[in-house]
Symmetry: C4
Subunit: 240 residues, 4 copies
C-alpha cells in the first residue's frame, strides 16, 4: 500500500500539456479504436515506449473514457516474468495492470516504439477462415491489394510492394493472456520481418517503430482483414 | 396533476454537476447506444439503481437528445405491479414512464446496479438463427472466443474463461413490453448465472453490478452476436 | 431577380436562437442523416411545416454543411403545380428549390408536420428484393419484429402491435423527382394508413405528425429494412 | 536544404481564417474521408486547384490529423515529369510530396478544380467483381438507381438520368502510384465524359469542377459501389 502511494507520487510522468506525450496519446488512440469497434467491452490495449519508460493502458477500463492519470508506467528494460518483478514506477491506485504487458514488452525488446492489441472482428474472422482452409499451422496471406503497401517488408527493408504477399502468422489462443507470450515470441522469431501476430479467435497484436507507424499499420491490416472477409463472401481468392 | 407538480419539485434528484451522477450518465449512455444503432426510433431503455433510488430513461424520447430533466426517479424497493402502485418520486410532466420498468426492477431485485435494454439487430438476428437451428427452447451458445471473457461466470464467480461456453437464454416476445416480466424472471431463475436475457425478434436485456459492468457486458455481448452472425454467414459453427 | 432580392429580406424567418426552430432543426437533422449514409452526395431532403409556413432544405447542397440561411420558406397551402406558382416567401439567392417540394406538399396536405426523404441503401435493397420476389405490384411486408411498434397503425389509430404486419407501398421511380408526385399520392390514397412510401431503386419518403415522429419513424423503418436485408441473406422470411 | 527553408517562407499560402481556403478544406475533407474508412493507414489523397496554385495533401500523414501547414503548394501548370521539375512553391520540411501528384495534375489539366483519391473497399470490391465477370477490359456499369443522378453525363452535359447507364473505366494497378499516370490518362481519353477512374485492387480517382462537386461525386460513386456489392450478394444484376 505504502509502495503504491509512493508510486502515485510519480503523477508528473503522466501530466503534460503536450498532445504528443504518451499519457495523452494513449487515451486518444483508445477513443479512436473504440469507435472502430476494436476495443469495446474493455477489450484490447495500447502501450508506448518513450525515453526509457513504458506507458500502458490499464486493464478493465472503458477505453473511450480513459484518462492520462489511468496510465501505468514501467521502467524499460524490465523483467517480463514474474509479474511481481516488473519495475512499475507509476501504478494508479484501484486499477490493475494490463494482462497484455509481457506481450507488449516482447515487442519493445525487438525495438518497437508502440504496440497495439485489438479484438477486431475482422481479425478474428480471418483467423477462423484460415484455420478452416489451411489448418492450425496456416498463416494469413494476401497479395495484389494496394493497401499492402502500408505494411513494412521488415525492419530496415522499406515497405511491401503491391505484388508482394503479406504474411501474418497466427498463434493459438490461451486461457490467460500472459500465457500467449511464449508463442508470440516464437512467432516473432519464425517471422522476423513481421510487425503483427494474429491470435486465433481473439484478435491481433500490431507494433511499429513509433506511434504513427503502429497505428497506421494497425489500420492497414484491419482494412485488409475486412476486405479479405468480403472477398471470401464473394468467392474471390486472397492471393492472386 | 397536483401530484405530478409536486413530483417535479424533486428536480434536485436529477441536477448534479457530477458526470457520474445517474441523471447525467443515462443521457450519456443513450447517446452512445444511439450511435451504435441500438436504440434508434426511441427503442430500448436504460436504468440505474443508486442510493435507494431507481433512475429510468423515459418512454418515447429520442435517445440521443435525452436530458437529465427527462429522467424518472422511483423509490427502491417498489412494487412492480400494478404500475399505479410504483413509488415515483419524480415524474417529468408530459413524459410517459418506460414500459421496461418492471423488467429493470426484476434485475434490480436480483442485485443489479444498472440494466440496459437494446434493440440491437445482431441480438435480433441471433434469436432468429437459434430459433431456426434449435427451436423455440434453444439458447444462444458460443465458445472459444476471447471476448467471452468480458462476461461474468455468475454472481461472485469471476469471469468466464476462453474455453467456457457462454449461454444466454432467449424468451418469446409478447405484445406488451411489461408482459415480458414473468418470462424474464423465469429465465433469470432457470439461468441464475446469466447477466442477460435475449428477447426473440426484439432485442436484449443486460444488467450488471454497476454502470460500467452493465455497459461493457452489453458491448461484449453485442460484439459476440455480430461475430456470430458473420460466422454463420461464413459457415463457421459457434461452439467449437 | 428583384423578386429574389426582396425574398431575401425575409431572413428573419430562418433566424432564431431556438434550437427547435425549423430553420435550425433541418440542418441538425440533415447532419444526422448524413452520418447514417442516407443523404450523401446531396441526395435526399427534409421539410417541416410550422405556423402556415413550409421550411425546405435546398437542392444540391452538401447535407452535413447546411446552414439555416440555406432554407427555403413557402406559404402553406400553396399550389403543387406548376412550380412557378408556388408561393415562396424566402428563396436563398444562388440556391435551387428542392425537386422534392411537391412530394413534401402532398404529405403536408394530408396533415403531416414533417416529411423526410432519404436514399437509404437498405430501403433501395428491399425494393429490389420485393420486385424480384413479388413483382412490380408488391409492397414491403414484415411482422413479428419489436421495432414495428415504432410505426403508427394509421392516423389516430395508435401504434402497430408486434403481431401486426407492417406494409409499406412501393412506387416506380421516374426520370424526374417531381413526376413521382402523382404515384406517391395514389399510393397515399391506396394505403391511407401509411406514413411512408418506398420508391423503387431510389429511396423512401417518410412523414409524421411532427418532427420527432417523422424522424423516429424514419429510423424505425430503416432499422426494419436493414434487418430485412440481413434476414434475407440468412434465409429467414420477413413475415412469420 | 536552403531551397526548402525558402519554400517554407511561403507559409502565408496555407494560412487563412477562411474555412473555404484550400489549405483548410483539405484537412476537413480528409477527416471526413477517414471516418468513412476511405483513407485509413495513410492511404488516399486530396488536391485542390485554386488561383494558379495546386494544394496537395502530403504523403504518409495520418489523414484525420492533417493540418493546414502540412499542405504542399505547386504552381499550375507545372510539369508532371520528372518529379524534380515540378514547381513547388511550398514544401513542408520533413514531409514527402504525394505520389498521387501526377495523377491529380492529369485531372487538373482536363479542367478539374479538385481531385480525390480513396482506397474505398467498395471500390476495390467492384473492381474484383468486374474482373471476374467481364475480364480485365471490363468497366463498372450500373443503371436505374436514383443516385446515378449525382454523377455528370460529361463536361457541360448536365447530370446523368435515372435510366442512363453509368460507366466507370477500370485500369490495372502498378507497382508505383506515379506509374498509373499513363493509363489514367488513356482512360480519360477513352472515356472523355468520365469524372472518375477505378484502379483495380487499389481504389478510385474522382474529380470535379470544384471541391463540392468532386466530394459529392465521390460520395455518390461510393454509395453506388456499396449498393452494387450488396446487390451482387443478393443476386440482383447491376444493369436492368
Amino acid at each position: 500500500m505504502a509502495q503504491e502511494v509512493q508510486q502515485d507520487n510519480n503523477d508528473h510522468l503522466v501530466k503534460s500539456e503536450d498532445p504528443e506525450h504518451p499519457a495523452n496519446l494513449i487515451p486518444d488512440l483508445c477513443r479512436k479504436f473504440y469507435n472502430w469497434g476494436w476495443v469495446t467491452g474493455t477489450g484490447g490495449g495500447t502501450s508506448i515506449r518513450s525515453g526509457g519508460h513504458i506507458y500502458i493502458a490499464p486493464s478493465g477500463v472503458q477505453k473511450e473514457l480513459m484518462q492520462p492519470h489511468n496510465i501505468f508506467v514501467l521502467e524499460f528494460p524490465t523483467p517480463k516474468y514474474p509479474p511481481s518483478d516488473r519495475k512499475y514506477i507509476r501504478k494508479p491506485l484501484a486499477l490493475k495492470p494490463s494482462a497484455c504487458t509481457p506481450l507488449f514488452l516482447a515487442a519493445f525488446e525487438r525495438g518497437a516504439g508502440c504496440c497495439i492489441h485489438t479484438h477486431s472482428q475482422w481479425a478474428v474472422l480471418v483467423t477462423l477462415l484460415v484455420e478452416r482452409e489451411k489448418g492450425p499451422e496456416g498463416c494469413f496471406e494476401i497479395s495484389n491489394i494496394e493497401q499492402i503497401k502500408g505494411i513494412p517488408k521488415g525492419p530496415g527493408k522499406g515497405m511491401l510492394g503491391f505484388f508482394d504477399t503479406l504474411k501474418i502468422p497466427i498463434i493459438d489462443n490461451t486461457a490467460f493472456e500472459e500465457d500467449l507470450t511464449g508463442s508470440l515470441e516464437k512467432a516473432m522469431d519464425a517471422y522476423p520481418d513481421t510487425y503483427a501476430v494474429l491470435v486465433r479467435r481473439h484478435g491481433i497484436y500490431v507494433w511499429g517503430d513509433n506511434v504513427a507507424k503502429a497505428k497506421t499499420q494497425c489500420e492497414s491490416l484491419d482494412y485488409l482483414f475486412q476486405l479479405a472477409v468480403e472477398m471470401h463472401k464473394l468467392g474471390i481468392p486472397w492471393v492472386k
